[in-house]
């Protein structure tokens, strides 16, 4: 670890923090239906879209109507994308002449993008046409992110009002796309183009290398997809190796922009939450929880990677470089560690280094960050509502200790909220551990493993964690493009997204109809350092404890074996 490495990390985090307030305030205005400076341009467009949807489309909804809208929208998005991928060969903008995708891969990919996971069991540059990338994947990059934000806003309104309604999904989704994601994506895409990221509809180039070998250089509308991939915490790259590819992420500056772009919206949404519930300190408290855990994760990866692999040092690899396997020299240790922590803490899933090549402990951290529930700060929207579920658990367990019926921001947490919160919390361990255990004992699952032993278990565990957490990053090393993995990972993504989202909306509905109790000195304040510490503890214990045995058999076993000189 070096000082300059830490400086790079902290400068980027400070930039993100500085953006949190202005961006958060702007988003709060957007979702409160207030005027913004983009109204003159986008107002008519927004009204036109809602008018198309028919009269009364913008009416306030209860939680159930809101949830049906979300599900209906996701199902139609899935069907459209599935059809598009299957029929790719017949559609335009296909200069390479790629054929349609196999059913299981098309299912997996469509689910992956509709759930904001962007798990890639395909290699983009050799599988998908420009049309599929633009009209299929990029569209879902916007819409799945906007869906997450909409749901987060429904939950936010449950705390700010007490009329029983949680907003209107179609309005929220439209405004999130038009006023937030589109303008930001245009800005960031232009910046990427300036940094040298390609943006073209041309086919791949053929080139002759210095050795005289023919090489295909893939290109396409990369910058535009890269921008929304980060802003929407999607993570699905244009290229197979994602942001490690020099066209997706050419320089240290583009790397910095990548990180800022993916972190800022999720973090700023926490500020918007504080603003909209009338307690900005609450927003800062959630941001503090995120940054403390994220920094711990960054530090752990950075430390593990610079410490390197004693086995390699023994055979003469320069120990001063740490573990550079699978990393890009233009990013180095610090930026790779930051990227790995942020992309997993964030449910983004893009990578700029190969996570499978991280040291065992360095690889454990990204996995744990996903398993903690994707709340640090999590996907746009989904991170916020995930964090609120943890906050509900925290005030319930500890709030009892102040001798009152627990309440969060003046809303009583009672049996119904507990039931729904536990249901949501149960989803991740059930999906991740369930599928991992089945895959670990069945030849269908173990057949795809590249490295045997504990590393192989880590590969499976990471894949299902990534899918259920809607992260989408891959540990690599696992040949995921098989019918078994395509199907089960797709199921894990669906469960992780929608089986989580529906109980959360139900909590919102229940809280939205409760009166808001004014705080007194007997109320447990949730915007102070004490609560920040408590919430961190609850996230670690409730979110992480159940994965300890699995992690012990995977990365921990590998780590201790590595120390004792054994490799797998």
């Amino acid at each position: 670890m070096t000082l300059s490495g830490w400086l790079q990390i902290f400068i980027l985090l400070i930039i993100v923090l500085l953006l949190a307030k202005p961006l958060g305030l702007y988003m709060a205005r957007v979702f409160s239906g207030e005027r913004t400076w983009l109204d003159p341009v986008l107002g008519p467009l927004e009204r036109g879209l809602l008018a198309l949807a028919g009269p009364g489309a913008g009416r306030e909804q209860g939680w159930l109507a809101y949830a049906w809208s979300v599900l209906w929208f996701a199902v139609s998005g899935f069907l459209a994308l599935y059809a598009l991928l299957r029929l790719q060969g017949l559609l335009p903008l296909n200069p390479q002449g790629f054929a349609g995708l196999a059913p299981d891969l098309a299912f997996n990919t469509a689910v992956s993008f509709v759930t904001n996971t962007n798990w890639q069991n395909y290699a983009g540059e050799t599988t998908l046409s420009h049309f599929s990338q633009m009209a299929g994947l990029t569209v879902q990059n916007f819409l799945s992110a906007a869906t997450g934000m909409a749901v987060a806003m429904a939950v936010t309104r449950a705390f700010s009002g007490s009329s029983g309604v949680v907003g209107n999904f179609w309005v929220d989704m439209t405004r999130a796309t038009l006023y937030i994601l589109m303008p930001l994506a245009i800005l960031v895409a232009l910046a990427f183009i300036a940094m040298g990221v390609p943006q073209t509809l041309e086919a791949s180039f053929a080139a002759t290398t210095l050795e005289g070998v023919q090489q295909t250089i893939a290109t396409g509308p990369v910058a535009s997809q890269e921008a929304i991939k980060q802003l929407g915490t999607n993570g699905g790259g244009f290229f197979n190796v994602n942001a490690a590819h020099p066209f997706e992420n050419p320089t240290a500056f583009s790397n910095a922009l990548n990180i800022v772009a993916m972190l800022s919206v999720s973090l700023a949404l926490m500020y918007s939450f504080g603003q909209m519930v009338g307690n900005r300190r609450q927003g800062w408290a959630l941001i503090a929880v995120t940054l403390v855990l994220l920094c711990a994760g960054i530090g752990a990866i950075y430390w593990a990677e610079t410490a390197g692999n004693p086995l390699l040092h023994a055979v003469g690899v320069d120990a001063a470089q740490g573990n550079m396997e699978g990393k890009e020299v233009r990013f180095g240790q610090a930026m790779s560690a930051l990227y790995a922590a942020v992309t997993t803490g964030l449910s983004n899933g893009g990578v700029n280094a190969m996570h499978a090549a991280l040291t065992p402990l360095g690889g454990l951290v990204p996995m744990l960050l996903i398993q903690l529930g994707e709340v640090l700060p999590g996907g746009v929207g989904s991170g916020l509502y995930g964090m609120i579920v943890f906050a509900i658990l925290a005030v319930f367990v500890a709030g009892l200790m102040v001798g009152r019926t627990p309440e969060l921001l003046g809303k009583k947490i009672e049996a119904r909220e507990m039931k729904l919160a536990m249901l949501a919390i149960l989803i991740l361990p059930l999906t991740i551990l369930g599928f991992t255990a089945i895959s670990a004992v069945m030849p269908l699952g173990t057949g795809s493993i590249l490295s045997p032993g504990p590393h192989g278990l880590s590969e499976i565990l990471y894949a299902y964690s990534s899918a259920a957490g809607n992260n989408g990053s891959a540990f690599a090393g696992l040949s995921g493009n098989t019918p078994w993995y395509n199907t089960t990972l797709g199921m894990a993504m669906l469960i992780g997204r929608f089986a989580y989202l529906v109980p959360v909306l139900a909590i919102a509905g229940s809280l939205a109809s409760k009166p808001r109790i004014p705080p007194s000195s007997g109320t447990f304040p949730t915007d102070r350092p004490l609560f920040v510490g408590l919430l961190i503890g609850i996230i670690l214990i409730m979110g992480g404890l159940q994965f300890f045995p699995a992690l012990a058999l995977g990365p921990l076993a590998e780590h201790f074996a590595m120390i004792s000189g054994q490799s797998f």
Binding site: V397, A398, G399, L400, M401, V402, G403, R404, T405, G410, I413, E414, A415, E417, M418, K419, M422, I425, L426, P429, L430, L433, G434, T436, A437, A440, V441, T446, G456, L457, P515, R516, I517, P518, S520, S521, G522, T523, F524, P525, R528, L530, L534, G537, I541, M542, L545, Q546, F547, F548, P549, A550, A552, L553, L556, A557, H559, F560, A561, S564
Partner: protein, 685 residues
Amino acid sequence: MSSTAKPISILSPAILVPALREAILKLDPRQLVRNPVIFVTEILALLVSAIVVGDLATGQGDVAFSLQIALWLWFTVLFATFAEAVAEGRGKAQAESLRRSKTNLSAKKLLFPQSPGDRSSEIIPAASLKVGDLVLVEAGDIVPGDGEIVEGVASVNESAITGESAPVVRAAGGDRSAVTGGTEVISDWLRVRITTRPGESFVDRMIGLIEGAQRQKTPNEIALSILLSGLTLIFLVAVVTLYGLALYSGTALTVTVLAALLVTLIPTTIGGLLSSIGIAGMDRLIRFNVIATSGRAVEAAGDVDTLLLDKTGTITFGNRMAAEFVPVNGVAERALAEAVLLASLADETAEGRSIVALAEDEYEARLPDPAQAGARFVPFSAQTRLSGVDIGDRRIRKGAVDAVLAFAGLDRATAGSDFLGAVEAIARSGGTPLAVAETGRLLGVVHLKDVVKPGIKERFAALRAMGIRTVMITGDNPVTAAAIASEAGVDEFLAEATPEQKLDYIRKEQAGGRLVAMCGDGTNDAPALAQADVGVAMQSGTQAAREAGNMVDLDSSPTKLIEIVEIGKQILMTRGALTTFSIANDVAKYFAIIPALFVATYPGLGALNLMGLGSAQSAILSAVIFNALVIVALIPLALRGVAYRPVGAAALLSRNLLVYGLGGLVAPFLGIKLIDLAITALGIA
């Protein structure tokens, strides 16, 4: 009821012996299913026992180890049921003594209920009384059932209910007209209309509540049970899937060790003690001489935001008392004090006595010895509105300002600014001015005021620190009310309050999301008591008030609401503390069991054996034993409750988090290590 006065120690054999028997009866799965965590533990204990039997039959497996695990799993369940039995035991002993007070009661049913004063009656068993029957209760009789006095006045010994031996006076009409079955009439006689059916009387309800027969889970208890069941499910998933993960890694885990792991991870500590906490809380309330009709009400008490208190008898002594003598027209203070003392000597009212006390104690006024000779006392009358004394040619009078002015031959215009100023100052401060004159001369003014009970201000400050606003209700005018409110330190007052206003005030508070507690005793309090979230009726109050409230204070002491609130908070705090402790425990248990399970496959994982436990088997056994013993160790805490201090929520939480969160993290590391040392020394695993 002597048992209310001195609580029975939970360590006394009178409680422990029946509790042990009860604990075994409670193993019945049909009962245990109400407690999901312990129910799961019992299933696992059965499972491991079956494996032991199977292993014995086939001669395979590690029988000694499985047997020990099975035994300790049974102990875990047994300790949990034992905790509940102990908590119930104390209540049962109290219920027993109550029940004795009403066995074999007979009633004197009036033969001519329509003729007032007629006392001819027939003797029937109390159990055959119906609602509406009129009965006669005479000196020495036990009141056969709850009822309303229709005629008569009598002194009644209610010690069977309240534990208070001084008899109380009960009379027809007014707010003291209710009698309770099981109490004894000591003098005179009463005609009583029975208002409850046998078996549903106040004492019956008390017995039912104490025995926990009507105990239902409170809303908060239900929410917590859901959390615990959810955690149990999560760990079930973690443990079941571990079988597959271990198989991949080359280890075939046995059902015994998986069961051991699961039991140590699920929150058995709080699961085992959850019901005891609630029962013990109700029991503490009963020892405070408060009967709650439901656990829900006690829990609501912990959440109270606004407390409505009647001024009279609660905040003030209820009688106006002399607080100061203000001399006018150059009269010496001492001279005024002696004149007032003389004028009040024969005044037996509370006001008169307070004037005498003030003059003698504070002003050191002494009577001129021969003065009393030939004194002629003038008693107060509603016409003159004056009282006083004539001694020789001295004619001293005290009374209402205008009456005294008239006596002195003056009026407001000629009274002098000195006098009028004093009168006005007293009135403005909320007091009552009592003018004093001798013959034709004004001597001064006595300041009468409602005296606030000593220490009450501190109690309200404590409530404020808890986050509770106190509101004083009074029939006084706003000026008087404001003065007393500021002196007593209440946050708000409701002056010239009518029953409708009380009700409206409560509704207004509730509409703002606040929980309201109030106490009252009169029939006109009944609607407000029913509307309040926590309504504490005084045992001395009317039947209507007692029916409307959800708690009855047997001592009829309104400030007891403070203790009720504290007990409500204690119950919640104890649940929270043990839940936190239980969850924090899991960290250490993982570090004990996980390396033990896999050290054979991956020797490197031995590095996770932070406690340096002896062997794999002793590590697992130690964790299971710790898990069982910690339930027993925490029974006293569950029954006593976590101490509540009114220091504000944040301070309270940081203290409890430190003790039960951090403590819960550290304690099992030490405990498991110690047990492991013992096991290794004994060589049993």
